[in-house]
Symmetry: C2
Subunit: 212 residues, 2 copies
DNA sequence: CTTAAGTTTGGTAGTGACTACCATATGGCG
DNA sequence: CGCCATATGGTAGTCACTACCAAACTTAAG
């Protein structure tokens, strides 16, 4: 029962790799799915069975990296949220760093093409949701409030990842992503970031109660 | 020199309104641009001169709200970053609250359609960049570091807006967005959010162990 | 008023992503 | 070898979007 799945995975990889190659050579907009299918020696129908849209051909790698880290977090219900979120960041960056050229190419393609950029942003948003859903389960107190807190925390976490990666891909080879992430987390911890400040004395009561 | 621009703005509004109406009635995917053009009594070519893609028909209102707030921030170089970012949040929410049905419909359409969701996320990302670019100018020190800090701050700010709005649109009428935003900012200020924590003693900075 | 220049408009033809569908081929198993 | 499930390739069609052109309209000048 394994030969079929092996073959499936093989053709899947083949299509994705050929597509990526063509995108890098001629650009995303100037490459048609017919050309990709021809390069992978499959029919266009087959291609669409593996990848629902042209954009997923570009984003598969990033998608996998994020999926891996978030599913890890989901399977670790005992770890402290702060440590878990840090590890999520580290795991994502570690995997991305294992294939710098690919990551750079992805962000390059996203920068030049609005649709790719849009789908990349939506991908990040989806994992922010997944991360929030996994996080909310280990937050005590009012579920509605916990959901809000989890969404904010997950958003900030993904925000760190995103900005670290963007700086990392724009820098030739000088910095490593992990230390950038460490720097970002330190900025968060020490309050060195100019965050939007709540205006005290505005008459709005603070009904957020958190037990320590 | 004014009659032309008046007419332009009129037809622009007409197209956008008719489109939105059709989207709400029959869904985004089930509405063709030809139908929209026919409803607005213009040719398809004319429609495309005003709106580059179908998605922009949906997102115009949100785009305007964000553009207004960010351009306000850009034109206030003297205000403190913390206060400025808070005001950005307040201004965006204020404008969105002025048209709750429209906002609710936009997020509803985004939830049901991947492409709309993707373009919404990209729109938010673009304004996060704009906000960061406006913010970096008033941050002292190393420009590279300031850029990083600004990107993180802008990201967190947009993150607050996004999550507040998502909670707000999902809640019938009980909460108001401003107090939710206030709550979020208080959470940020008091450190009540479980943020990813930099691991001390990992060899990057120092060796002091930090338990729990 | 009239003419000229610039702008807005509608229409046509085409490209290409994506879908629905069907006939065929291929692998897994008795 | 036959039986079933799945994988594949091809066809026809829809629809977003583009490039282009000719007609209508707006504005300004003679």
């Amino acid at each position: 029962m394994g030969l079929r799945e092996v073959k499936r995975e093989r053709t899947r990889r083949l299509i994705a790799d050929k597509a990526f190659e063509l995108f890098c050579d001629h650009g995303f907009g100037r490459t048609t799915v017919e050309q990709i299918a021809a390069a992978a020696e499959v029919g266009p129908s087959t291609l669409y069975r593996y990848f629902p849209t042209k954009e997923t051909l570009v984003l598969e790698f990033v998608d996998d990296c994020l999926a891996d880290a978030v599913s890890w977090f989901r399977d670790q219900p005992t770890v402290e949220p702060r440590d878990g979120l840090r590890t999520v960041i580290e795991r994502v960056l570690e995997q991305l760093e294992s294939n710098p050229d690919r990551v750079r190419a992805v962000f390059d393609l996203a920068e030049r093409n609005g649709s790719v950029s849009a789908h990349l942003n939506e991908l990040i948003w989806r994992f922010r949701n997944d991360l929030a859903a996994a996080l909310v389960r280990r937050l005590p107190g009012d579920p509605l409030h916990a959901e809000f807190v989890a969404a904010l925390s997950a958003g900030i976490t993904m925000n760190v990842i995103e900005n670290v990666v963007r700086v990392w891909v724009d820098t030739p080879h000088a910095v490593n992503a992990q230390s950038l992430a460490h720097q970002a987390m330190t900025l968060l911890e020490t309050g060195a970031l100019p965050l939007p400040a709540a205006q005290h004395g505005s008459g709005i009561s603070d009904n957020s109660r958190h037990d320590s």
